[in-house]
Symmetry: C2
Subunit: 269 residues, 2 copies
Amino acid sequence: MPDAPLILVNGSPAASISPLDRGLAFGDGVFRTLRMEAGEPVWWPDHLAKLTADCRQLAMSCPTRSEWEQDIAWLAARQPDAVVKLIVTRGTGPRGYRLPDAPYPTRIAMATPLPDFPDPLAASGATVRVCDLRLGRQPRLAGAKHLNRLENVLARMEWDDPAIDEGILLDDAGRVISGVMANLFISSGGRWRTPVLDACGVAGVTRARLLGILAAEETHIGLADLLGADAVLLSNSLIRLRWVARLGERTWPRPADFDDLMEKLCSGA
Amino acid sequence: MPDAPLILVNGSPAASISPLDRGLAFGDGVFRTLRMEAGEPVWWPDHLAKLTADCRQLAMSCPTRSEWEQDIAWLAARQPDAVVKLIVTRGTGPRGYRLPDAPYPTRIAMATPLPDFPDPLAASGATVRVCDLRLGRQPRLAGAKHLNRLENVLARMEWDDPAIDEGILLDDAGRVISGVMANLFISSGGRWRTPVLDACGVAGVTRARLLGILAAEETHIGLADLLGADAVLLSNSLIRLRWVARLGERTWPRPADFDDLMEKLCSGA
């Protein structure tokens, strides 16, 4: 495989996990994807806090900060500019949903070379489509970046056209939730909003930062709100921020304050 | 670990899978759990058909019958009375939800000794509880036994009391769907019914057989219907059939035709 990633499993270089891992059996775990630039994991305290919170949401123990930082240092020494993916599962266990008596989490850290993302300040806007798949609502899992991601897989299968950058996901009540890979902010009349994620979606680190920078409100958002918005932004830890230029026949110009927002987002500690 | 299972990965004895497997990353796969008795996988044609159908539901290719049968023969020679678990994932791939250009499924076959299930004909009835967790509704995944099973994990975490045998799951509209580990049939006025599984739940092999044996109807079932039923049965490929004796204050006697039903179920080819 091109760009074979560097992989640590429980701190040791390894190319394998147990077929008995509950991460495989049930998707019983959570993950993070983040940028590493010049050996520094970007927004690391935020990512660590989110990983810990997501583990807590599943009543799982999370590896310690020092364990993760040892892993990241090992990856950084070998691949200083990278996409880092951190996975924690509830570990191996006997067959069946019941938790093992003494679960011991599996900790996986991987790095792949930072792909050639378009320079967000120079890039043209994104072209998006609306996915047919509607997200199910599960408040107990909402917000967490857990390993049950078949909805995202099925949604991403809906298009092959490389001109489409992202798919917009609605829930089964018709509310806009997010992109398949990114979160979403809309501006109307000078006011920024992002979907409330209390029943589905992933409340990520970049979204949390943008909520502050934009003084955005979490609200229910319909497709008509999105189409009627003055500007639409996509965000995640890898692309950071991208503006939406087209959804079907609807087009938007580059937001006047885009460079300013990107600057504020990237200059944050 | 006691009872360490026998494991084949893509036909070879193996204790590992790749951390890049999409089964781990996204729960992108399906599975089956079945009984093997004296080296014979029980209801094998049904299980193979269901595995193939579930792969098709996720637009995945399924390993061939002859590949599975080679795996099962290898397991049967070493552990003739076993719980067999078969997993198929979309295989390894680069980071991201987008399908690999040429996905190659990962095929896992495992066997653990058949546990000491209570003899269903001699056993007392099951004590069940109603779970707090409500299943989300996702028609695109409904019926399939896919690897996104966090709802079952969370539901099974709700009780520790060994006197509770099973938890009843309702969906977010309040409809009874199934147990955490088993499907469910109720009898009222001589008519058998089982929940329609068009938005959640797993439409398993034993359920399909019982639909025929009981001439049961698939309908919406509320908790009041369940509590008001003359008899309630639980089914899956491991326990086969068990009658429900208690739910809170509600108790049921052993159904008069239980032994007859069990006999019909077990005598099927």
